[in-house]
């Protein structure tokens, strides 16, 4: 190592020691020390509780999915669905004598859905 470099290194070391950031701030205050000493073990307990609660998360998620699937597939209506009670109406022949007679079958459910079958008069069985 050259003399010049050694002098430079010594000067840097000297400057660092003179301006040591911890020169007047060498330790934690007693309050800080007590607080940290008390906090550290309790944080471990809190952490373990949090970790344990996270362990239940996948199980909870699975249970939720199962419930959703059950809710989607199960029919929660109470009692039996009333059977479709068709109201059959047969239309009267039209007034025109030459016109082909078209017949209609009207089905109406209890909820109001109407199904109208128009029978083609040209078709014969």
């Amino acid at each position: 190592m050259s003399l010049q470099k050694r002098i430079t290194d010594d000067r840097v070391r000297e400057a660092l020691r003179q301006g040591d950031p911890a020169r007047y701030d060498r330790e934690l205050t007693p309050t800080e020390r007590e607080y940290l000493r008390a906090t550290i073990p309790s944080s471990r307990i809190v952490d373990s509780i949090v970790r344990r609660s996270w362990a239940w998360l996948p199980l909870g998620a699975c249970a939720l999915v199962v419930l959703l699937v059950l809710a989607a597939t199960h029919d929660f209506r109470i009692g039996d669905e009333p059977a479709l009670t068709p109201v059959v109406t047969v239309s009267l022949p039209t007034a025109l004598p030459d016109a082909p007679v078209s017949r209609q079958v009207h089905l109406t459910t209890k909820n109001g859905t109407r199904i109208i079958w128009i029978l083609n008069p040209a078709v014969s069985f």
Binding site: L16, Q18, G19, D20, A22, I40
Partner: protein, 176 residues
């Protein structure tokens, strides 16, 4: 509650007390040394305290990773502290640039020589990467030998010497 359950709880409690006791002993043994390092790596007392706290919290959470012997414990804590400092610097680099310009204003009654020297050193050290800064602090200010630093930080002595050489060059330029 059956007898095995009682024994299990008693063992868990004993383990808890044992771990708590170890954490307390760990804190008592190393907090001074760790705070000094943190204070030299950070810009303020509060930041140093936060770093120390975070390092011990990591130790509390990762108890299994903590070595059993005192030297290993200290090395583990130091490495954790340096990594925390490194992460913090990287995260807050933009904010720090603005904060430095505010915090480093001289006192109203005129700067004292000690204050000027401290600010100059803090500024110079802040130009270094956290790991290099730690090596410089440990060797040049705390006087630790290269071999000890290498062992503690888990690097080779050649790496430590290389960091020291580069750091001295940069510090000589900044400090004038």
């Amino acid at each position: 509650m059956g007898a095995p359950a009682v024994i299990e709880i008693a063992l868990a409690q004993a383990w808890t007390f044992d771990v708590d006791d170890r954490l307390a002993r760990l804190f008592d043994a190393h907090h001074r040394r760790l705070f000094l390092l943190a204070r030299r790596l950070s810009g303020s007392h509060d930041e140093a305290r936060d770093l120390v706290q975070e390092a011990f919290l990591r130790a509390a959470r990762g108890g299994a990773a903590l070595p059993e012997d005192a030297a290993g414990e200290l090395a583990w804590l130091m490495r954790t502290l340096i990594n925390l400092c490194h992460d913090r610097r990287r995260r807050e680099s933009v904010r720090d640039r603005h904060r430095t310009s505010r915090e480093h204003n001289a006192p109203a009654d005129g700067p004292e020589p000690g204050y000027v020297a401290r600010i100059a050193v803090e500024r110079a050290l802040s130009t270094l990467d956290a790991r290099r800064r730690a090596i410089v602090v440990l060797h040049e200010i705390e006087g630790e030998p290269v071999a000890w630093i290498a062992r503690s930080l888990g690097v080779t002595p050649v790496t430590v010497r290389w960091h020291l050489m580069r750091a001295r060059r940069e510090l000589a330029r900044v400090l004038g």
